[in-house]
């Protein structure tokens, strides 16, 4: 089924969000809004050096400053701070040199925390930073991944023998999921090889991270702007040796995350250490500049990719090698990010053979970890770009090449060459709808006309036909990939005496709209009003069990846990209803919140009446406990596989290099929609971030390891004026792996859009002999690409903010 269905009930309705009221009126609970009696304010001194030995730190003057309560260095906490956790040792021999929260003897990136000041006011703490005197003995910055893995390279970490943390490999012949890659390579009729650079990006959530820690008895209460209160609680306990049941973590209003609020941060550990040292509440809030240089970055890969095909365009093999920049330290899931991508490089195509090898590399740069899509945008970019390059090599239409090779809708379920079983999909339907919305043929005709007339503004058309693995994740699969936790989610539903419903979820929202979407599910499953459902989340005391929000998992995993819990509530209520109605349980039917007896019109009880009867407990069946609650923990058996077709038309001013999106169409298939309004919003925001990678954003370091895009002046998030209005639509091919048929939508826009934009630019420029362009495709880069090698020398000496020599050096490779 691909038509968008009419629906009754709450699921499928574009309900306005429950979350909005306090956010639009400023009655918010951001952590930095909170003050508690006795609270001290923290400021953190950060390293100005990318790589150096700390030879001495003198804090005496800072300690004497007015209002200062205490100053601590890494030496003070060396015995107690432990190491920041990395939960994803992707190989048994992965090298993890350890990650102190406060540097003890050495700093390994600019922005690393070196000392912390506690003071009566925030300005007193910040003022005193300048009074700390640190002596550094500089070490060589390690910036280029390819140089870093060579024999004799300068080492980031003195306790290692190489800057390579791990090598993770997959080969379809060896894995038994396909043919040997070497056979495909040697038999290839056509081979195309490219190097793509996934520039470093910064998640750049709008709310800077903030943490407030209150010592409570022998434990702590932490409020933190985190995506993962539950994981944070467990990891904090393990890192600091505080018993887990003495740690309570609350994620109140959290202002965006995009993966950027997944890891356990140095600042969370430092704030906890200071609060416990002083026996007083302590709060730390980062500045934007601190956030950009010390909160983790994303992407940062060098991708060497080879595709082989028959001369008729049938693909025969895909060979991928990645250098993945870990930065200075391994963060919570940093090593796992490129490994998630390993499963997505083959995309929607029927490759008989596939190899993936990834080297994780240490450099003296900010650590990397998950950023919206986490491994999958990188993979999707590479496959969708190389498909266009193969089409150009073959002289085929790029859409025709895709049609020839993608899995057709009759072929599902389909086990692809990396071993995943795609449950459902209909790439034809999404593509046909997108082409029609785009007016593709007319645009192609216009493109030809503009080329023929040598119009200074050329038109480019780009395609991205993608899938992604969402609903992270089946615990057994995570286990096979050596991840340190499961992928289940929990729900608890309780029907109160008055018939109102509380739904507790372990998914922890930070802008997605869980309260609204989950209320819709509960309303339908229990037959109660949408308004009568309260969703409770984000506090390990009130929602004690969960694995939080990332990887488009909240609906596809957390939502299913809610369905299961609701089903249990209905089953118990049915038993009580049968008793009260003096009927056989098998004769009791449940519809729209009412229990009735088959064949006895009039004999019925509403869920609320049963709830009250359960509360009074005066007349319950024997052996039935007086509660109308239920718990469920859902562990998915498979991922979900949203897919879609994204099309981009871009105008390129060949005289200035300016690229301007003229029309962007996407048709996403996220399965059965729960709330189309929220889906659309997620797609819009995802598109903005994916397009930003293509056109605007890059974290640039100079040769000494300084982040030169350290503020929003230089790290250029798109504004409203930089983006077009998007045309979004859907097809609906329900997932068959879960009872709601949902797939997840948080990452789709980001994953799909980047290659659509870059393919459009390259399409426009191909007549100029251009077959690739580095991201972000700034006007300067586009202009230089058009005007060719005569200007290469100048490109080498270009500004490092937009990909001059320093950028080339730090990421490796030159495009």
């Amino acid at each position: 089924m691909t038509a968008v269905e009419e629906r009754t009930g709450q699921i499928g309705q574009a309900r306005l969000r429950k979350e909005d009221q306090h956010l639009i009126t400023g009655r918010t609970t951001w952590v930095d809004n909170m003050t508690v009696p006795g609270m001290v304010h923290l400021a953190i001194l950060r390293s100005p050096m990318a790589h150096a030995t700390i030879t001495s730190i003198d804090t005496s003057e800072a300690k004497a400053r007015p209002g200062v309560i205490g100053v601590w260095t890494g030496q003070d906490f060396a015995e107690t701070q432990g190491n920041l956790p990395c939960a994803w040792p992707v190989t048994p021999d992965m090298v993890n040199p350890g990650a102190p929260s406060l540097a003890v003897t050495q700093v390994n990136h600019v922005g690393e925390a070196v000392a912390v000041i506690a003071a009566r006011t925030k300005v007193a703490a910040q003022d005193a930073l300048e009074a700390i005197d640190v002596e550094y003995e500089p070490l060589p910055a390690v910036m280029d991944m390819e140089e870093a893995v060579k024999d004799g390279a300068d080492l980031v970490h003195p306790n290692t023998t190489s800057n390579k943390s791990f090598t993770w490999a997959f080969e379809s012949g060896a894995a038994g999921t396909g043919a040997p890659i070497e056979d495909a390579l040697s038999a290839a009729e056509v081979t195309v090889t490219r190097r793509f650079i996934q520039q470093r990006l910064i998640p750049a959530f709008m709310e800077p991270r903030s943490t407030l820690v209150q010592p409570v008895g022998d434990g702590v209460l932490m409020h933190s702007s985190t995506q993962v209160p539950h994981i944070l609680r467990t990891m904090l306990a393990l890192t600091l040796g505080i018993p887990e049941h003495k740690v309570r973590v609350v994620a109140p209003d959290v202002g965006g995350g995009f993966g950027g609020k997944i890891p356990v941060t140095p600042e969370e550990v430092i704030t906890t250490l200071v609060a416990r040292k002083l026996g007083k509440p302590a709060k730390y809030t980062e500045s934007r500049s601190e956030s950009l240089m010390s909160a983790h970055h994303g992407r940062a890969q060098i991708q060497d990719i080879t595709i082989t095909a028959k001369s008729d365009g049938t693909v025969t093999g895909l060979d991928v090698h990645l250098y993945a920049d870990m930065g200075a330290y391994l963060r919570l899931v940093g090593p796992g990010v490129p490994i998630l991508g390993a499963f997505m490089f083959p995309g929607i195509y029927k490759f008989p053979a596939y190899r993936f090898v990834c080297d994780g590399v240490f450099t003296t740069k900010t650590s990397t970890d998950a950023y919206r899509g986490a491994g999958r945008p990188e993979a999707t970019f590479a496959i969708e770009r190389i498909m266009d390059e193969l089409a150009a090599e073959l002289g085929m239409d790029p859409m025709e090449l895709r049609r020839k090779n993608w899995i057709t809708h009759e072929e599902f379920p389909y086990t692809m060459v990396a071993g995943l079983t795609y449950d459902t999909g209909n790439y034809e339907a999404a593509t046909d709808k997108a082409l029609e919305l785009m007016g593709w043929d007319e645009l192609r005709a216009e493109q030809k006309q503009r080329r023929d007339s040598k119009d200074p503004v050329q038109l480019g058309l780009g395609i991205s036909t993608f899938t992604e693995m969402c609903g992270l994740a089946p615990s057994r699969v995570l286990g096979s990939l050596d991840y340190g936790a499961g992928g289940w989610e929990s729900a608890h539903i309780r029907v109160l005496a008055t018939g109102k419903v509380e739904c507790v979820t372990g998914a922890s929202a930070h802008g997605q709209g869980h309260e609204t979407a989950f209320s819709q599910i509960v309303a339908d499953k229990l037959g109660v009003a949408f308004e009568d459902v309260e969703v409770i989340h984000g506090d390990t005391q009130s929602s004690p069990k969960g694995l939080d929000t990332y990887g488009s998992r909240s609906l596809a995993v957390g939502g299913i846990a809610i369905v299961k819990a609701a089903e249990k509530v209905v089953a118990k209520a049915r038993k009580i209803a049968a008793h009260l109605l003096e009927a056989d349980e098998n004769d009791v039917e449940f519809e729209n919140g009412n229990f009735s007896v088959k064949g006895s019109p009039g004999a019925s009880l509403a869920l609320g009446e049963i709830a009250f009867a359960t509360f009074t407990a005066h007349n319950l069946p024997d052996g039935v406990e007086p509660s109308l609650d239920s718990d469920a923990v859902y562990d998915p058996e498979n991922f979900s596989f949203p897919h879609g077709t994204h099309l981009c038309a871009i105008d390129i001013d060949t005289e200035t290099g300016q690229a301007k999106i003229r029309k962007y169409v996407c048709v996403d298939d996220v399965g059965t929609p729960v709330n189309p309004l929220i889906i659309e919003g997620q797609v819009h925001g995802g598109l903005a971030q994916g397009i930003a990678q293509a056109l605007f954003e890059e974290a640039v370091f100079d040769a000494d390891g300084n982040l030169t895009t350290g503020t929003f002046v230089d790290y250029t998030l798109p504004s409203a004026a930089d983006l077009p209005s998007f045309i979004t639509d859907r097809t609906e091919t329900p997932s068959t792996s879960n009872p709601l048929g949902v797939k997840g939508v948080g990452e789709a826009g980001t994953i799909a859009s980047t290659p659509a934009v870059v393919n459009a630019i390259v399409d426009a420029l191909r007549p100029f002999g251009v077959n690739d362009i580095r991201m972000p495709a700034t006007p300067e880069r586009v202009w230089r690409a058009i005007h060719g090698s005569a200007h290469a020398g100048r490109a080498e000496a270009g500004t490092n903010a937009y990909g001059g020599s320093s950028t080339e050096t730090s990421d490796g490779g030159n495009a």
Binding site: Q21, I24, Q512, G681, A688, F712, S719
Partner: protein, 157 residues
């Protein structure tokens, strides 16, 4: 310390501030108007946008002492006494113009100011008009829709 007299959301305040104190810090830390937030340190993001004597300002680029004798309206002062939302707040709700909500107070204040100066803006004028306010969640499309809806409803204050 310098003494200032400021009216914030209709209430008069007389406070001592350090001359270097930014208006946003005064509002958050002394007046308790934490609905107005800080999103950057370079005046790029606009999350702290408020009205100062009827003009939209980024309150991180105004000193508290400059607000002496002035009237400040924050997001917390937009609702009517009876709790009715300001039409721009309502439009953001109805058109899903927010997700995480962190940029929203500043964005709503900026959009309100935009319509005050241009009651019937084109899409391009809306996009240009709010380019000083960054949002990372929405891709701006539904914010633009919200402003268009508010304009259509005749909101210009």
């Amino acid at each position: 310390m310098t003494k200032i007299n400021v009216t914030v959301d209709g209430t008069k305040y007389a406070d001592e501030v350090e001359p270097r104190t930014l208006l946003v810090h005064y509002l958050r830390e002394q007046v308790g108007k934490v609905g107005t937030v800080v999103g950057c340190d370079t005046s790029n993001c606009g999350a702290c946008t408020v009205d100062l004597d009827g003009k939209s300002v980024k309150s991180c680029s105004v000193l508290a002492v400059q607000a002496d004798g002035c009237e400040v309206t924050t997001i917390e002062g937009l609702q009517a006494q009876d709790g009715t939302l300001h039409p721009m707040q309502q439009a953001f709700h109805e058109h899903h113009g927010l997700q995480c909500g962190y940029c929203t107070p500043g964005m709503i204040m900026a959009c309100r100011d935009l319509l005050k100066n241009n009651p019937d803006p084109s899409e391009a004028e809306i996009r240009e008009g709010i380019e000083g306010n960054l949002c990372r969640c929405t891709g701006y499309q539904n914010i633009v829709k919200a402003v268009q809806a508010a304009a259509k409803a005749g909101v210009s204050a």
